[in-house]
């Protein structure tokens, strides 16, 4: 369980929220704090007030994965192989273990055909797929996917939803504007009005309200 209490971070304030294990869709209009919530739960942002505990531990002591909205921003290396091997290499694993982790992550994210490619030759969507694979290779407890479906076509996205769910990460937080993804998720949290606007079916129902408002 990720437990938030009395959290104030940037424009977001959450008195109490519990996020169970599994795939959680985080939805809300632009500027309602989706990125802020993901950053706080992965320890990339320290809240101004309040506490967040991931299974009883502060987020900074828990392994995290992050994939940004702009896929270019989630990659470090010029070769896809180096990208996927980096968590194993940084952790000092043997080359065999590192390679096994990288291949496993590439298989789960559907990035195997990109393995020997140069990152420069990948399109935005392909970079997103590689970024997800690299995040899986670090075997995170909390995996945050920040609106990264924005650049993926329906087919790619439909492949990645089960990949994210079966990633081995105990908590997957995926911020999105996609209704189908939200429906497919195990849980849903809607942000709005400076805090949590609803969870579960109430969050999903907001899509109808937004479509009516449009």
């Amino acid at each position: 369980m990720i437990a938030l209490s009395g959290v104030r971070a940037r424009t977001l304030s959450i008195d109490s929220l519990a996020i169970p294990p599994g795939l959680t869709a985080v939805v809300g209009l632009n500027g309602t704090g989706k990125t802020t919530l993901l950053e706080a739960c992965t320890g990339l942002l320290l809240p101004d007030e309040g506490t967040i505990l991931v299974d009883g531990l502060p987020p900074r002591e828990v392994d995290a994965g992050w994939v940004s909205a702009s896929p270019d921003r989630s990659l470090l290396f010029s070769r896809v192989d180096d990208e996927l091997a980096s968590p194993g290499r940084f952790a000092g694993l043997s080359p065999i273990e590192t390679a096994a982790r990288a291949t496993g992550a590439a298989e789960r994210a559907g990035a195997v055909r990109h393995l020997s490619r140069s990152v420069r030759t990948l399109s935005g969507g392909e970079r997103g797929v590689v970024a997800l694979a690299a995040a899986l290779a670090s075997q995170p407890t909390v995996l945050a996917l920040d609106e990264f479906d924005g650049f993926l076509d329906r087919e790619t996205l439909d492949d990645l939803i089960p990949a994210a769910r079966d990633s081995g990460a105990r908590f997957v937080l995926w911020s999105t504007h996609d209704r189908e993804l939200t429906r497919a998720a195990d849980h849903a949290i809607a942000l709005g009005g400076g805090g949590v606007a609803g969870t579960g079916a109430a969050a999903l129902a907001l899509f109808d309200a937004w479509e009516r408002a449009a």
Binding site: R73, L76, S78, S86, R89, G92, L93, S138
Partner: protein, 218 residues
């Protein structure tokens, strides 16, 4: 040359030979004609290097130095440098740094050196991509040339600030705390041996040959 280790060795030998003397420079150019010409150097880079070399030689002449000798030696160094740049492949620096570190008994320093080189090269390439898009975006706004360049500079600065923040974040979530383990596998160096041996021979020939026997240096 595919093996970055032999390429580094060859480039180092040729650069020293070329700068050492005019005969060394000519031997180095000969090496390039035989082994290096297949790597394409972008015309803009070639033009820049050519103009810089000629200007430097003119300046050396004007200040009483040996302009023609300088022209030939630095010209050759630039040709070798441009060749090294064009022959560079993705990931070479990471592999090379880790290999050197593993061999020298300081794997941590070698890994970090390679990583820094790799990330720096990547940032330069990314900044070049950013600049292309930013320049096109600014051009479309239709402002005057001066304000356009100020705008491009501002946008590029912010893009690079954001990039360095992303870099720090990505390193953190991948679990980087300094150092790492990497045993690079190189493709067979046998194909590169002739070029490497030739480069070493160029260096030896440059050191053995009389310094100024050539007509250019008279």
């Amino acid at each position: 040359m595919k093996d970055p280790r032999l390429r580094l060795l060859a480039v180092a030998a040729l650069s020293v030979a070329a700068f050492h003397s005019v005969p060394g420079a000519l031997f180095a150019l000969l090496w390039w004609l035989v082994f290096g010409r297949r790597t394409a150097v972008p015309p803009a880079v070639a033009l820049f290097l050519g103009v810089t070399t000629v200007l430097a030689a003119l300046a050396a002449s004007a200040s009483g130095g040996d302009g023609p000798s300088y022209l030939v030696r630095c010209g050759a160094v630039f040709v070798i440098a441009a060749h090294a740049h064009a022959a560079q492949r993705d990931g070479d620096l990471l592999d090379l740094g880790a290999w050197l570190g593993n061999r020298a008994g300081c794997p941590r320093a070698g890994f970090d050196l390679g990583l820094v080189g790799e990330l720096a090269l990547g940032s330069i390439a990314a900044a070049a991509d950013d600049l292309e898009r930013i320049r096109f975006a600014a051009e479309q706004k239709g402002s005057g040339p001066v304000s356009r360049w100020v705008a491009v500079g501002t946008a590029l600065l912010f893009a690079e600030l954001r990039r360095s923040r992303d870099l720090a974040r990505n390193l953190a979530v991948r679990g980087y705390h300094g150092g790492g383990r990497h045993d690079p596998v190189f493709s067979s160096p046998i194909a590169d041996l002739p070029a490497a041996v030739a480069a070493i021979s160029v260096l030896i020939a440059a050191i053995l040959a009389p310094h100024e026997f050539f007509i250019l240096s008279l």
